[in-house]
Point group: C2
Chain length 482, copies 2
Amino acid sequence: MEPLFELAIRLPTRASRGLLRALHSQLRAAIINGRLKPGVQMPSTRALAASHGVSRNTVLAAYALLLGEGYLIARGGSGTYIAETLPRSLADKPKAGEESYDRRLNAAWRRRRPPFGRGAPQPAPRLSFQLGVPDIGLFPFDIWRRLSARALRRFAKARPAYHDPQGLLTLREAIAKHTSSTRAVACRPDDVVVTAGAQQAFDLLARTLVTPQRTVVAVENPGYPPLRAALIAAGAKVVPIPVDSEGLVVNGVPDDARIICVTPSHQFPLGTAMSMRRRTALLEFARARNAVVIEDDYDCEFRFADRPLDALQTLDRAACVFYVGTFSKSLFPAIRLGFVACPPWARRTLVTAKEYADSRCPELMQHTLAAFIAEGHLVRHVRKMRAIYSERRQALLHGLHSQFGHSLEPIPSAAGLHLAAFCKTSRDPDTIVERARLSGVGLYTLNRFATGKNVPPGLVFGYGAIEKAAITEGLTLLRRAW
Amino acid sequence: MEPLFELAIRLPTRASRGLLRALHSQLRAAIINGRLKPGVQMPSTRALAASHGVSRNTVLAAYALLLGEGYLIARGGSGTYIAETLPRSLADKPKAGEESYDRRLNAAWRRRRPPFGRGAPQPAPRLSFQLGVPDIGLFPFDIWRRLSARALRRFAKARPAYHDPQGLLTLREAIAKHTSSTRAVACRPDDVVVTAGAQQAFDLLARTLVTPQRTVVAVENPGYPPLRAALIAAGAKVVPIPVDSEGLVVNGVPDDARIICVTPSHQFPLGTAMSMRRRTALLEFARARNAVVIEDDYDCEFRFADRPLDALQTLDRAACVFYVGTFSKSLFPAIRLGFVACPPWARRTLVTAKEYADSRCPELMQHTLAAFIAEGHLVRHVRKMRAIYSERRQALLHGLHSQFGHSLEPIPSAAGLHLAAFCKTSRDPDTIVERARLSGVGLYTLNRFATGKNVPPGLVFGYGAIEKAAITEGLTLLRRAW
């Protein structure tokens, strides 16, 4: 049995020092990553030397090193084996002198943690009021597959080229047309920068707009943690600003704020729409102080009222609003495509930042999405889903009213894929959420999205990916856990 | 004719000031982005007021504003029209007070330019020795389409979830196995971070490893401009280090360098492989100074020699090498997927940075790529292409020898998709490249990839996306242009 012959052991030059190192490190690598399984017998030093054209002494030396390090064990006269008890952490555990390895990292990054903690935002219980996800079970994947196959066929015949970091023109045209007609956003294809989801839009805006350790940025509190994370990573001085029933309290924004981030159509996570008075005040603030506004319009394709407010960008006369859109909610999150409709003065810099960050978005996805929008599938899908989400929302509101009338007060909201409610009792939301989780119901506390302690106790229910019957069942279980 | 009825004009509240603003800005937006075409007659103020339930005075005021701004013109008694001569630049040109808008940008970013200038790296002439692109005409897109459709079908049935920012486990398993067997890179699935191409790997490494205005980074000169760009954007003090026939001149690296970036298998753009002596010296330098090495192994699946040198990472015993791989060359650039095989101490931070940057890579592409690798298609495709590229390389070498024996000296190279050659005559490479371009032949000067003037005159020929016959024809035309 000569397991090594199946391995890609490649030995460099004839200089024996290099040979020994290479042989040792490759054998070690094969053991660590499992190509050589624990307990397997190693070939004899003679056989290995012969098969790889190296001296037997080199192989002996490599085996000796591996024996010393505990990767191999010698069993009396019967040969050399891969250690059975090889701890997986062998390669992970810092050896002597390795403790300081992570000092090689930028100190700020070393401290940073994922915005929602490691892993998925929430472990998935049986009945999950998960936030930020649409119902992909109802997505017309057959159409997507057809358009995707067509894009691939065309792409295969096209001339190879590195494409525009701003995004494919056909996609930017489709986005400009769609967004101006559904959200009254004033933009031309030239104003659109295609990004890897909304998160990359936030990251690129943070990097290009923030001067580290100087720029003051106002964010909503409660708000969207990953946006906050991108701003902090770019060196912004982030100031959380309270939100009330009219949206961001513009009076609370410090005079020196140069970026103000808002979710005016459907505040995340409270769900309120920003009043026209506040919108006007915010735009006036930005105009007067040469500040900019980042408008995150994350789920506003789904509106359930007759007369929705327009995007803030529509009212912008000082070229200060960056409108961020995403297809994670209207299509599916795995598409990882979003965009910024940006003022002309910022476009070139934003595109340069995109090129520095990852060159551009995958062309095949862009082609497919462009066709999906241009051929009317997006509008049809949104229309269909709007009716479904509206029913779910009604079921949720009804259940909250009938089962939690005395304990929860839903926050008025006319759009989106989630609903928040304030707690009217003194029960601790964290305890409720934890007990609900144990009963198989997933939901969120408001304070999960807050900075500091000044957000009233409350709960957040996503209804994008949970069916009507499950909503009712989930609320019943929640009632019991309560 | 009532063109406005087709428009998504949405009016906010009944407060007339907000109404006027909204009506004005939406009409203006519709004109700017072309939904209202030049020359079209506007509806009467009366009709518009009635259809949108606003007072006629509001509509009159909005029209008056638009007339004043030049978006509308009044034609005697016949009504109001969209201005025919509406300059497209109306919205782009800074108005009074707008000159300073771009002061809102971070000053450093405002100055930055794309690494290769705006647009494609090179305009595409008829016969193009384009760099960095494989021959996608020979890619098995039928297989890719089948795997992609299967991934979509499975995905459509899967439970919705936000996935791991590090990358899908199946893809990381496939990458770890493939890279350890083809490049002897010692990595486990846990060590792999999936990125949006090599460029995002560079960007994430720059952001997490560089302390702005402090970290000294050594890069090869000549080298790869987009890597340099990402490092500078992260605030690194970038020091260009000369490259000779053995690769990076390690003696030239300043003592305080904390990151050293190299292309050891196939120097970009010279094409040489780093000698074992230099590799050992570089790793010793990094170990002694607690520095790290970024190894860009961009096109080394294509090797034409019998005994390739291993990856630098294979020899690393101080957990200091970040191995960056990409599928842009072995598959096709539009896939926008690459990876870092990183030391355990850096992984968590790198994954956090990835999550901040864009959450994660598109799952559908990841699923498809994982299957493509796991089912052996990558290895088969690389094997097929290696033979083809080898022939092209021979044709190029033969042509250079026979037609440019006295004027060009090819730089020895045993891998990759391009070849560089030094000019032995005093002819100016820029002039040659420009004259070649006018004859329909695209190629590059060496100094395009250099910082400063200390790189000898030379030319670079990509042969990834040019057929054998075209190579010969291209060289003949180049000979004439010479």
